[in-house]
Every structure is written in C-alpha cells, then in structure tokens.
Symmetry: C2
Subunit: 213 residues, 2 copies
Amino acid sequence: MKRLKIPDATVRRLSDYARMLDQLDEEGIRIVSSDTLASRCGLNPAQIRKDLAYFGEFGVRGVGYRVRELKENLKGILGVTHTWRVALAGAGNLGSALVAYRGFLTHGFIIHAVFDKYPERAKLPRNGRFPKVLGLDRIKTEIRRRGIQIGIIAVPAEAAQGVAERLVGAGIFGILNFAPVRLRVPKHVKVKNVDLGSELESLSFFLSKRDTP
Amino acid sequence: MKRLKIPDATVRRLSDYARMLDQLDEEGIRIVSSDTLASRCGLNPAQIRKDLAYFGEFGVRGVGYRVRELKENLKGILGVTHTWRVALAGAGNLGSALVAYRGFLTHGFIIHAVFDKYPERAKLPRNGRFPKVLGLDRIKTEIRRRGIQIGIIAVPAEAAQGVAERLVGAGIFGILNFAPVRLRVPKHVKVKNVDLGSELESLSFFLSKRDTP
DNA sequence: TGTTGTGAAGTCGTTCACAGCT
DNA sequence: AGCTGTGAACGACTTCACAACA
C-alpha cells in the first residue's frame, strides 16, 4: 500500500468503479473480480488493482472483491458520505440550469446561496424551492454566515476571475468552474474546470477530419 | 511535420490557443512567441510548439507566430468554421438548459430537433425560438429528414444506451453524452463524455483529504 | 486453483536543449 | 540575436507477468 500523489485519472475512475459496484449490488452480485469489473468499465484489470492499491488492500486473493464492502470503501474515499455547502455565482441560462440540476443533490452538493451581478434579472424560478438571488457584493458576508465551502462559477468569461477572487476571499476552498478561463487561485484552493466549449471544439475537430485521413 | 495519432490533450489545448489568440488579436497584438503564449496559457513553450507541429509549420523562426494567421489556421483545424446540425435527446432540467445555452451557437452547433420520451412534459419554453419536442420514436425519421449529424444525450442514465443506438441507427456520427454511462457505439462514431457527477466526486475527493495528509 | 498485489517493462505525453532559419 | 522546430531525455501512467496467498 502506497501513499501520496494519486493520479487525477485514478480519482476519476474511482467514480466509475463506485457506480458499477452500485449496479452490481442491485443485481445481487456479492463478489466481483478485477477482470469482470474491468470489462464492464472497458479497462484493463491491472488498472483497477493498481488504482485500488493506492488506498489499501480491499480484495481477497483467489476470490475477488466483496461488492458492497468495496463500494462503501470507495464512497468513503471519494468523500461522498458527507454533504458540501455550495454557493453558485451566475444565474443566467447555465446557472439556472445548474440550480435545477438534481445531480448536485445526489452527490451531496447543496446549493445554499446564489449570486448574480444583476439579481433582479435572474432567471431562476422565484418560488421558495430555490435560494433568493443576491448581488455579487454580498458574497463575502453570506458565504461566511452560511459556512459555505464550495463555489460554482457560471458567470461570463470576463467576470470569472473577479468572482473567483471574491469567493476565495470569503474562505471557499473548492471551485467548480464553468467559465472558459484558467482561474488563478492560491494553491490551497482546488479548481475543477468543466469547459463545454472546449468539449464542443474537440468533438468538432474529430468530426471534421472524419473523411480526410 | 508529422501525421496521425494526435493526443487528445493536444486537441483540447488547441481550443485554448485559439481563445488566447482571439484575445491577443483584440488587444491589437500582431505577433506572439511561443514563450508569451505559453505563459498566458500556463504551459511550457515547447508544448505549444509541439502541439502546432502536428499540423504544420505556422511560425517564423527568430520572430514568432502571426496572431491572426495562426488563429485562422487553428479554427480551420478545429473545424469551427462550418456549422453542425444537432439533435438533443432529453428535455428535462439539463436538456432544457442546454437548448438555451448560447455556447452551442457560438461554436457552430445548431439544435434543429429535440426529443423526449414524454414530449408533453418537456420543460422547454414553448415559444417559437425552440424546436418543438418530439417523441423518441420520431428520432430516425426526423434526423434523416433534417440531415442532422450530431446528437446530444441528456436523458437519464438507464435510457442513454438505448437513445444512443437510435441516434446511431439514424445516421449520426458524433455524440455529446451527459449521461453517466460509457456508451457502446460503432467505432466510426465519436463520443465525448461530459460527466458532471464524476467531476463533483473528484472535487469532493480532493476536498475531503484536505486536512488529513 | 484462482485472483490479488506489485515490481518491471512498456507506452505515451511532456520538457529539455540545441540545430536551423530569418 | 532570437525564436521556431525537433530529436533525445525525462516522467507519468498503463500494462505485463508473476510471486504471494486464500
């Protein structure tokens, strides 16, 4: 068993494993080998064993992995057993979609505050199910008051860096960034970028050169 | 100048370069060196030169790259000079957000059709700006009739594989998949996954082990 | 016997360092 | 003199292959 420097790719695969184990569990399967799990995930079995080895010895030699046990272990490792307090900055099209997106909840991300440069223009449904939209100047006080840990940035590219700085200044330590910009933040802050535009261009690239090899 | 096997990471960076070059162009900058561009993108200069070398010799030794020229070249390579005809499957929360998302348009992705298992429940604004939502059974005929090339999957995980097969059967050759599933498709079809859930778990992981080193 | 855990080998992408142009 | 283009060195992640062990 090792420690330190877990590849980013390994962490992402852990999610996959957890999801597959959920399925296997529902199918009533108790034990699974790295071979079987690998073929379900479209990976090499050794990959899975190596990934898991970063965190401990979860298997039984000659047998395999106990599905439910491994699943629980992975969830613990991924930190999805507790919930996170989240603030959303940007209540335009994308932002409003994100507030409504149920995936956040199922992953333990609860949106406790929403900010926008123009709160009155915000496109969120104004019923009680969603937090009221506040101005960007309220970021620091609200985030502190509500003990928020994570920020989601869904503002236009030009505004993103400024908002990031406010969030960081308010004490946030994780950011999920949807703006097409590389944010500059102190190194204790973890940023995850989700850049739809670049995914689109990348798809576009592969499709363009389809018939011109 | 080489050919074949362009790393996925290279393609993604090409998007970044194009975006930076847009900025530089707006700032009135005519010429840029790999050094300058690299520091703007937070990369190693050699990386940029290597990336570009996959596609040709765009620079002038002793001088640098002509901003506008390189920008146009990159856009051509990325295939963002022409537009794509797109269909969206899934008109729930996420799907509706995507129809409204302007980024698709700016990248030349035009949504010409929207499908959902229950068209009448769809959450799209019903005004003329958005395509009418059709049942999943209409996929094949509509996609063929409208010459649609790309499908976006925003249906629940359980339904994703089935929808993918219908799309492929209708002649689509690119898929942008938002469902947390690895789709099985013929190899002439290019799939790009955008898995918010796995991004969240990955963020969650890094935050969990923040104070426990 | 069957499957894990892991050192060693292999592969792929990044960075270095310099020759080659302008 | 300065900066690109690129072979070679490096490093990181993946796969192999086998010893360890239930």
